[in-house]
């Protein structure tokens, strides 16, 4: 179950926002996509899932598990989304539907992909909620998103993404909107869940310090192009591109700040 991205290009109104990006995520690997905002990290992730916004078109090749995803009809892609490939978004405040209970949202992909009954899916949702260490899972599934804290909402989003045990998780800056202490908890949770399920992880971030904690391999993007593709240890010790060096300087600043992620 490996993901191979080759020459992925995303165009919006004739502008290439992702330009020939290539990288590979072997089975069980943890790969980070890192770059400044606007470097095309998120669009790369959305292109893999076929969820680009209107007016954006993807070309190139994304091969998942031996299957070409670019050009696959949406119906086929919908079958993969949430079932084989899950995604967690950056902003936990808006990633949950405000008028549905947390439990129903966790149960949604179970209902879709496993055609589970409402009752079974609800029971599974409780189990999933406790798996992401939400407090008092039986009661929290009956709550609405606005009754949860930011960290709890991100846990719900993770539970939603992982409910069907996907083989690949794409995490698009899942900790950026959170407090530093909660950031560390969420990273720890992601690491343990990824290890438990033996799934692959694509972690998107602009923070090399965060990347160093969660990924083993880093792909550095700038203006939609890959500028460096190396093990994280090498990015940290011997960055070859100026972009990585800049990211490293920023990350070092974070590391040195009292209470920073370290």
């Amino acid at each position: 179950m490996s993901l191979v991205v080759r020459g992925l290009t995303v165009e919006i109104d004739g502008r290439r926002v992702v330009d020939g990006v290539s990288f590979a995520v072997p089975d069980g690997a943890r790969v980070g996509l890192i770059g400044e905002s606007g470097s095309g990290k998120s669009l790369t992730a959305l292109a893999i899932l076929g969820l680009l916004p209107d007016g954006a078109t993807a070309s190139g090749s994304v091969v998942w598990n031996g299957r070409e995803l670019i050009g696959l009809p949406d119906r086929e892609l919908a079958r993969l989304r949430g079932d084989e490939i899950g995604i967690v978004f950056q902003e936990p405040r808006t990633a949950l539907n405000p008028i549905r209970t947390v439990g129903r949202q966790i149960a949604e992909s179970i209902r879709i992909h496993e055609r589970a009954s409402r009752r079974d899916a609800a029971a599974r949702a409780v189990a999933e909620a406790s798996r992401v260490a939400l407090p008092d899972p039986e009661r929290i599934v009956a709550r609405y998103p606005h009754q949860l804290s930011g960290g709890q909402r991100q846990r719900v989003a993770i539970a939603m993404a992982l409910a069907c045990r996907p083989r690949l998780l794409i995490a698009d800056e899942p900790t950026t909107a959170l407090d530093v202490t909660i950031q560390a908890e969420i990273l720890e949770l992601l690491l343990s869940l990824v290890a438990d399920d033996g799934m692959s992880l694509v972690f998107i971030t602009h923070d090399l310090a965060v990347l160093s904690q969660i990924a083993t391999h880093g792909v550095v993007l700038e203006d939609g192009r890959v500028v460096e593709d190396a093990p994280v240890s090498q990015l940290l010790t011997a960055p070859s591109s100026p972009v990585t060096q800049g990211l490293l300087r920023d990350a070092t600043a974070t590391l040195w700040r009292p209470g920073g992620v370290a």
Binding site: L49, L51, D54, G55, D74, R75, A78, R79, L80, R81, G82, D83, G86, I87, F89, E91, T94, A95, L96, N97, P98, I99, R100, T101, E108, S109, I112, H113, A133, P135, R139, A142, R143, Y144, H146, Q147, L148, S149, G150, G151, Q152, R155, A157, M160, A161, T181, I182, E185
Partner: protein, 309 residues
């Protein structure tokens, strides 16, 4: 667990499918609206099979009977029983309100969906089209149509339905756009929902509050429009029982028999008020972010739908 800092919730029953009905009942305005609308609807149903007297039965010997027994609300200039006329008129009112509501819903949802979910040039043409249609005064057009081709309830239903459907579209479209671009809609797609499933599960429920208020408002205006047009002689034909017709007839004698005019006026006012309050209550009862934390002080809502008639 450091992120568990939410206030401890009181013991919650699992949310039932009908929980919103209980929340509606707890709002005094919602309760009032629900009761009024139910009473009018029930009256309309009962009036189909039974009224105390035949509403069109003329009884000259018994004209202008004061309220009492057997004519509970008295009789009119030709001795017809006013209560029976009101009950029969409720049929017309409900028919027009429901008809206009259905037309407004179909027109509104269709235009809003076309204006929010389609290709860019379609979206923008629909938006312009809606803005143009909104400029037309609904009631004047209904009067013109009635004046030329003769009045009927269908003219009222179609003109109010289309007129307010356009209004619903204009309010719902930006809301739909806003929801469309929220992360949870993307997350729904990422969970494997098809666009159609996503529309039903995530998009429409989130625009429902705005829609419900607009719809109840259109139905209320339909009631008013029917009464108003009938009053002016452009609506229900004189053979149909209608609150507007009754009001027009009775108000000629307002100086002699002032009490009798009150009844149809009260019926119209209460129904319109009830529909508005019910819509507002529904909006609040179905929106978990508004109604769940009542103890903690309710979020003020001052949404007043605009009048375009």
């Amino acid at each position: 667990m450091s992120d568990a800092l939410v206030p401890p919730a009181p013991a919650e029953a699992p949310p039932s499918r009908w929980a919103w009905l209980g929340r509606l009942w707890q709002l005094s305005t919602g309760r009032f609206g629900l009761i009024v609308v139910m009473v009018v609807a029930l009256t309309a149903i009962i009036a189909r099979v039974w009224t105390p007297f035949d509403p069109q039965q003329v009884e000259i010997a018994n004209r202008w009977a004061p309220p009492g027994w057997p004519h509970v609300l008295g009789t009119d200039a030709t001795g017809r029983d006013i209560l029976s006329l009101l009950m029969a008129g409720a049929r017309t009112t409900v028919f027009v309100a429901v008809g206009a509501g259905v037309v407004a819903t179909l027109v509104g949802i269709t235009l809003a969906a076309l204006g929010a979910l389609t290709a860019r040039w379609v979206r923008e043409s629909v938006a312009v089209f809606v803005d143009i249609l909104i400029a037309f005064p609904v009631l004047i057009i209904a009067m013109m149509i009635s004046a030329v081709w003769g009045g009927s309830l269908w003219v009222v239903i179609w003109s109010v339905g289309i007129g307010f459907g356009v209004n619903i579209a204009r309010v719902t479209r930006p809301e739909l756009r806003r929801v469309l671009h929220s992360d949870f809609v993307l997350a729904g797609r990422a969970s494997g929902l098809t666009p159609a499933q996503n529309l039903v599960r995530h998009l429409l429920p989130n625009v429902a509050p705005v829609f419900i208020v607009q719809l109840s408002w259109s139905m209320a205006v339909a009631v008013l429009a029917e009464a108003g047009l009938s009053y002016l002689g452009f609506g229900a034909p004189v053979t149909e029982p209608s609150w507007g017709l009754l009001l027009a007839e009775l108000q000629q004698f307002i100086t002699v028999h002032p009490l009798s005019v009150v009844w149809p006026g009260l019926a119209i006012t209460l129904t319109v008020l009830g529909l508005n309050l019910l819509g507002d209550g529904l909006r609040e009862a179905t929106d978990p972010t508004l109604s769940r934390e009542r103890g903690a002080g309710r979020v003020a809502r001052t949404h007043v739908p605009e009048v375009v008639a």
